[in-house]
Amino acid sequence: MINPFEILETINMIDHENLDIRTITMGISLRSCAGQDIDTVCKKVYDKITMYAKDLVKTGEDIERQFGIPIINKRISVTPISTLIDALDEPTVEKCVQLAKTLDKAAKAVGVNFLGGYTALVHKGYTKGERVLIESIPQALAATELVCSSVNIGSTRAGINMDAVKQMGETVKKAAEITADKNGFACAKLVVFCNAVEDNPFMAGAFLGEGEGECVINVGVSGPGVVKCALEKVRGKDFGVVAETVKKTAFKITRMGQLVAQEASRRLGVPFGIVDLSLAPTPAVGDSVAYILEEMGLEKCGAHGTTAALALLNDAVKKGGVMASGYVGGLSGAFIPVSEDAGMIAAAKCGALTIEKLEAMTCVCSVGLDMIVIPGDTPASTISAIIADEAAIGMINQKTTAVRIIPAPGLKEGDEVEFGGLLGTGPVMPVKPYLSDEFIARGGRIPAPINSLKN
């Protein structure tokens, strides 16, 4: 029999340390739904999603009950929708929005929490459909509740599409303005990527990449609270001990993800894709990545030393998790979404954590500038410049970076936005007042970087 202490350790992790499976995400290819007539395409898309995912939520709930492990979200990711838009007779914004509404309706019909894939991959150039889809993003996000959108504007192999960077700054701004009554909520469902991954189960950036199969199950694990509690037991010990403790904890967390992924895959009769071994915080007390960094000995997240602490954490999570799962993928690492993390919120409010420091942290963490609320009067070109900086970090360092930023209409530094649920509360953080408009207006492409002579 398994050791009683191990059994109680698992139960304690779930009951008191917020261990959970963050998401079971079903990837569904919509390529078979392409066609010239929008009404036919919408019908095919609705039918396919509701057929493939009809048992997803129930299966998730059954696993939850039988294993006693909370599964917070059940989600769907689909083929980048720009693929379908490109195949249409005459792509228009209205047709794009109609398709977005169809996705929303299908997501609601099967009872999932979010559906991702209102996406365009334009890191090197645009097709006609991609241009129209990006144009439609603000309206599509405002007209839907569960649809999430992402745009890939750069990659290590292609460089950065600065025309797309410019357009995305404007798109983010417009998405905020069009949902001004909800403090720019649409922007919480919109991510701008560099080096986007094809099997990410996390929102808002999930989509099913071109290299993926017909249907796949990807699982995202979470457990910042468990790591924090484990580190409490090794206070004052050196970093070798810290790294080892994080690794062991990540191993256990990931094993649980692997078990759930295999079980869900078996029950749904859908191939298992990957486990994304991420530390994804929630606004709940004790479920914060910032508190892990503070547990390492920093007075506040954002203090000097934060980047080093995050680098150790991110690396140790991967090392521990990789052995625990047959297939690791997605974003895999520590997330640092400001509004979704109680410790980050506190650090941002007291001024310890700034956008500049977050930018440095994104060089060593899993993704990028995430869920950051900035003043509503920030120019679109400044948002584009923030996106460009972040994309440059990803491009040069061969990693995924992203920007999910909310220019909250009418709000200024010191105000606060309540998004509710897992999205949390965002303090409005200051951005530099100096302009980048001429830089952004240049357009064109930043060439792909050299991959030797690394210094």
Binding site: M1, I2, N3, P4, E6, I7, L8, E9, T10, I11, R65, Q66, F67, G68, I69, K252, R255, M256, Q258, L259, M323
Partner: protein, 89 residues
């Protein structure tokens, strides 16, 4: 199918009797049992076995939740694989 039943709470008379009777009534066989007092808390861990076609984890959970409320305990019923996968390579 194998599952682990954990019972944690303030020690009092009749916990084992009630839990094992309920399990018996569900048609569940107790394979192994360990019991200890940790920090004044009664802690019992049982490995149980049952035919999945006759009874489900959910049925057992529902049945034991009555005892959970009546006696002020915390009872979990979880499939055994979650522990073996987490703690064994």
């Amino acid at each position: 199918m194998k599952a682990i039943v954990t019972v944690v709470g303030k020690d009092k008379k009749g916990i084992i009797a009630k839990v094992s009777t309920a399990l018996y009534e569900c048609g569940v066989n107790i394979v192994d049992i360990s019991q200890t007092i940790m920090q004044d808390m009664f802690t019992m861990i049982m490995m149980v076995e049952f035919g999945a076609e006759n009874v489900s984890v959910q049925d057992i959970t529902n049945r034991l939740s009555e005892i959970e409320q009546e006696m002020g305990l915390k009872i979990h019923v979880q499939r055994e694989e979650i522990f073996s996968s987490m703690h064994r390579i």
